[in-house]
Amino acid sequence: MKIGVVTFPGTLDDDDAARAIRLAGADPVSLWHASDDLRAVDAVVLPGGFSYGDYLRCGAIAALAPVMNSVVSAANAGLPVLGICNGFQVLCESHLLPGALIRNSQQRFVCRDQDLVVVNNSTAWTRDFGENETITIPLKNGEGNFQATADAVAELEGEGRVVFRYAGLNPNGSMNDIAGITNARGNVVGLMPHPEHAVEAGFGVRSADGPRAGTDGLRFFTSVLTSTLAA
């Protein structure tokens, strides 16, 4: 299975996303922002970073890139798309997902091992998790505060489209502790924390097995292997 990883100028976690894809058993394919060719991939990851320096608004300029025209069309046709951190911001600016991410309420960048509850395990990227399972993956951002209109939030909650909720601590002031959401079809998922940084023992998060043994992030990428375009 081939999974595309998009690189915008300023993208930082593309290599890490590619590693996660490899470890999950798929082939990562590099997608350049300036090209609209998705190279026949079966899914797309929009990785974390500071695309275009977060200028104008986080993800705003990246959302206008040629590659995003193709990603939006493909997503509307059912292609699984995962937006991580800056990637989530790009998905919101592209209107594939509702709402927006603004500056953390405490005004500071925060990097921490973050507990999450997987409240929706039927999306393309969360099938391998148990219902309401608690996982731990790194969070690292300065603009992760999820805000949407009251109607949009009601719709998300009502339709079960909240995918992850912060547990233990809301690190940025996000409404309803929302850490990640999905579209109606369940193929497009965006979240602020970073699954690609918890995929390899020795370099993951703290867990009962050791100081860097936590690899809960891997199942994001294994989930999509069993998801097809038609799902």
């Binding site: 104008l56 608004r57 600016e93 709402g99 927006a100 005004q107 505060n145 805000q147 002031g173």
Partner: protein, 85 residues
């Protein structure tokens, strides 16, 4: 050369953490008469020649589609820079 000013502010219902931080900082400088502060953005768009109605219309289009995110921001003003002198 003409210049068009576009002003963008966070929607009133959106939490504005930066404005809040500034509001907190002013009293520390001995300025405590302001009950609220909200922080937005001001864009200067330069055109060749004078500012025409078409240019203002293009500025409005730019404002809605790129310069602001309608989910969290409002375009509160679009005007010829010379008009306020």
């Amino acid at each position: 050369m003409g210049r068009i000013i576009v002003e963008v502010m966070p929607k009133p219902e959106i939490l504005d953490p930066q404005g809040k931080a500034v509001r907190g900082a002013l009293p520390r400088q001995g300025i405590d008469v302001f009950t609220d502060v909200r922080q937005g953005k001001r864009f200067e768009l330069t055109v060749e020649g004078p500012v025409t109605q078409e240019a203002l219309a293009d500025a409005a289009k730019a404002a809605e589609s790129v310069l602001s995110n309608p989910i969290i921001e409002d375009v509160v003003a679009i005007y010829d820079a010379e008009a306020i002198r």
